[in-house]
C-alpha cells in the first residue's frame, strides 16, 4: 500500500511540473493559435538558469531555506526573453501554421546550442537544498516536503490562472481575443500587446517549471527535446487550448509514467503514447477540447 502511495506521490509531482509547461503551451495556443515546440527549451532554460541563480545566491550567503522562492524568482526573471521571441514570431502570424511550427523548431535548435555554449555539454545539477525542508514519512511511505510544496505551487498557479482568465477584466479580453481576433481588435483591444503578454506568460510558466524541477533532477541538453514530447502528450490528451484539459492530461501522463517506470519500465513513453492514440481514436478533440470543425 505504501509503495502505491509512493508512486502516486511521485506521479503527482511530475504532473505538477508537466501542468505548468502544458498550461503555457495551452495559453499560447489558445490565444495565438501557435503550437510552441520551444516550450521544452523554455523548461530547460529555466532549469539551467535556476542552478546558476541558486549557486550565486549561496555565494552571497542566502539561506538554503530560500531555495524554493529563489527558484521561483529565477523562473520569473526569465520572462524577459518572452517579448523579443514573440516579436520574431510576429512575422509569421499571417502565414500557414506549418511555418509557425517550423519557426519554433528553429528556436529549439538554437536554444540547444545556447545551453551548450553557456552551461556546457555535461548535465548540471543542484548539489544541495532538495531535502532541506525535510521529509514526511509514515512507515515505508515517504515524500519530500519540497515535492509537496511544488505540487501546492502548481495548484495555486492553476487556481490563479483560472481566476485570471474567468473573473478578471484582462482575462475576459484575453478570451475574447482568442475567440475572435479581428472582432477584439475592432473593439479597441491592442492585440499586439495581448500577444506579447500571453507569450511571455507562457514562457514564464515553462521556465518556472524548469527551475522548480531542478532540485530533484539534473539539467541536461536532452531535457528540452524530451520534455516537449510529454507536454504534447498532455495537450493532446486534454484537448488543445483547454486549461482543464492541461490539468487532467498532466495528471494522467504523470501517473501513467510513474506506474509504468515501476511496473514495466519498457512501457514508459510507450504507455503515454498509447493513451494519446486511444484518446484520439475515441475522443478526437481530447478530453476537454471542443469538437473540431
Amino acid at each position: 500500500m505504501s509503495a502505491f502511495a509512493n508512486i502516486v506521490a511521485g506521479g503527482v509531482f511530475h504532473a505538477a511540473v508537466l501542468f505548468l509547461v502544458a498550461a503555457g503551451l495551452q495559453l499560447v495556443f489558445g490565444v495565438q493559435k501557435i503550437v510552441n515546440l520551444a516550450c521544452g527549451s523554455f523548461y530547460a532554460l529555466g532549469a539551467y538558469f535556476g542552478i546558476t541563480f541558486i549557486g550565486y545566491a549561496h555565494q552571497f550567503g542566502v539561506s538554503e531555506w530560500l531555495v524554493l522562492p529563489g527558484l521561483i524568482i529565477s523562473g520569473l526573471l526569465l520572462g524577459f526573453i518572452g517579448p523579443p521571441i514573440e516579436r520574431v514570431l510576429r512575422t509569421v502570424y499571417d502565414r500557414d501554421e506549418s511555418f509557425q511550427l517550423l519557426l519554433t523548431f528553429a528556436l529549439v535548435l538554437m536554444f540547444q546550442d545556447v545551453f551548450k555554449f553557456v552551461w556546457g555539454a555535461n548535465p548540471r545539477s543542484l548539489d544541495s537544498g532538495y531535502l532541506i525542508y525535510g521529509t514526511i514519512s509514515t512507515g515505508d511511505f515517504g515524500v519530500p516536503v519540497y515535492n509537496l510544496l511544488v505540487i501546492a505551487a502548481a495548484i495555486a498557479v492553476a487556481a490563479g490562472l483560472g481566476h485570471f482568465l474567468q473573473r478578471t477584466n484582462y482575462g475576459r479580453i484575453l478570451r475574447a481575443t482568442a475567440e475572435n481576433r479581428a472582432m477584439a481588435e475592432a473593439l479597441g483591444v491592442d492585440v499586439r500587446r495581448i500577444y506579447s503578454v500571453v507569450f511571455t506568460l507562457g514562457a514564464v510558466l515553462g521556465t518556472t517549471a524548469g527551475a522548480l524541477v531542478v532540485p530533484t533532477a539534473a539539467a541536461s541538453l536532452d531535457m528540452a527535446i524530451e520534455f516537449v514530447v510529454e507536454a504534447f502528450a498532455v495537450v493532446v490528451i486534454g484537448g488543445l487550448g483547454s486549461m482543464r484539459g492541461a490539468l487532467a492530461g498532466a495528471l494522467i501522463v504523470g501517473l501513467i509514467r510513474a506506474f509504468s517506470i515501476l511496473l514495466y519500465p519498457e512501457l514508459e513513453v510507450l504507455a503515454i503514447y498509447l493513451i494519446v492514440v486511444a484518446v484520439l481514436i475515441f475522443r478526437p478533440a481530447g478530453l476537454f477540447g471542443r469538437t473540431l470543425a
Binding site: 503550437v35 515546440l37 520574431v88 512575422t91 509569421v92 502565414r95 501554421e97 506549418s98 511555418f99 511550427l101 517550423l102 519557426l103 523548431f105 528553429a106 528556436l107 529549439v108 535548435l109 538554437m110 540547444q112 546550442d113 545556447v114 551548450k116 555554449f117 527535446i225 516537449v228 514530447v229 504534447f232 502528450a233 495537450v235 493532446v236 488543445l240 519500465p265 519498457e266 512501457l267 514508459e268 513513453v269 510507450l270 503514447y273 498509447l274 494519446v276 492514440v277 484520439l280 481514436i281 478526437p284 473540431l292
Partner: protein, 322 residues
Amino acid sequence: MKLSAAAIVAVCGTAALALLPLAMPPYYTGLMIPFCGYAIALLGFNLLFGYTGLLSFGHAMFLGVGAYGAAILSGVLGVKSFELVLLTVMLGSGAIALPVGALCVRYTGIFFGMLTLAFGMLFHSFLFKFYHLTGGDSGMRVARMNILGLDFAPYNKIEFLAGPFYYYCLGLMIVAGFVMWRIVNSPFGLHLKTVRDNARKAEYLGVHVHRFRLAAFVISAAFGAVGGAILGFRVGLADPELVYWTQSGQLVFMAVLGGFSNFFGPIVGALTFTLLQDQLQSLTEYWRFMLGAILALIVIAFPEGIAGLAADLRRRIAGKTA
C-alpha cells in the same frame, strides 16, 4: 513548369552528380549517398506536404522502418539482395502507414502534425526500450548486401560505397524522381492538389478526401522507407536516433530549405542541407545554432526556399531582357 524545362533540370543535375566522383575526393561522394537517401524520402514527404498540404512531424518513422527493415532482413534473416530488401521495406512501410495514416488523415494542419509526431515517438520508444528485439540505443547492424545481384567482393566497404553503390543510389533517386513526377502529374496528383487547395469543394465534387490523403500518406511512407534503407546501408547501422522527432523536423527543414512548392525543391533542399551541415560541423561546434538561424531566416524571409529564389531570379532576368 513545362516537361521540357523539368527534363533539362533533371538531365543537367544527373550529369553533374554522375561526374562528381571523377572531380571530387571520395569523401564528398560518400556524403552524396545520404543525400540520395534523404532526397528519395523527401520526394515522398513532399507528396504529402507540398502536394497534399499535410505537414507530417513524424516522417522519420518511415526512415526508421526502412533502416530497421534492412537491418532485420540483412543481419538476422541473411537476405543478400538489396533490391529484395527495398521491395520488402516499401511494402512493410506501406502496411504500417495504412492504419497510422487512417487515423491521422482525419485531421489537418497542426493536429495532423502533432498526431504524426505522436506516432513517430511511439515507434521511437518501441525501438529504444525493447532492447532484446531492437538493440535499444545501440541499434541493429545492417550487413553488406548485393546490388543488382553483384557482390563487388574485391571492393572494401569504402570503395564499394564511393563507387558502385553511389551510382546505384543515384539511379534509385532518378527512378524515384521519375515515378514521383508521373504521380504528381497524373489525375491522382491533380486530385491531391484539389484536396489541398479546397478540401470541402473537392468533397462536394465527389472526391474521397480521406482516401486520397491516405493514399498520399502510404506512398510517402514507402518512399521514406527506401531512403531509410539507403541511410542504414551506408552507415551499416540502424539506430533509434534516426526516428527521433528532431529528425522529422530536419526532414521538414530540408523540404522548406529547397522549396516545397517546386517539384525539385526537396532534392535541392536535401543537397544543400547535407553540404551545409557538413561544412558547419567542420567549422564550429555550434552548428545547430547556425542551422536554426538559417531555418528561421528562410521561414521569415524566403518561405519559397531556394527553388523560389531561383524562380524569382529567372523572372527578374526575363523581365529585364523583355
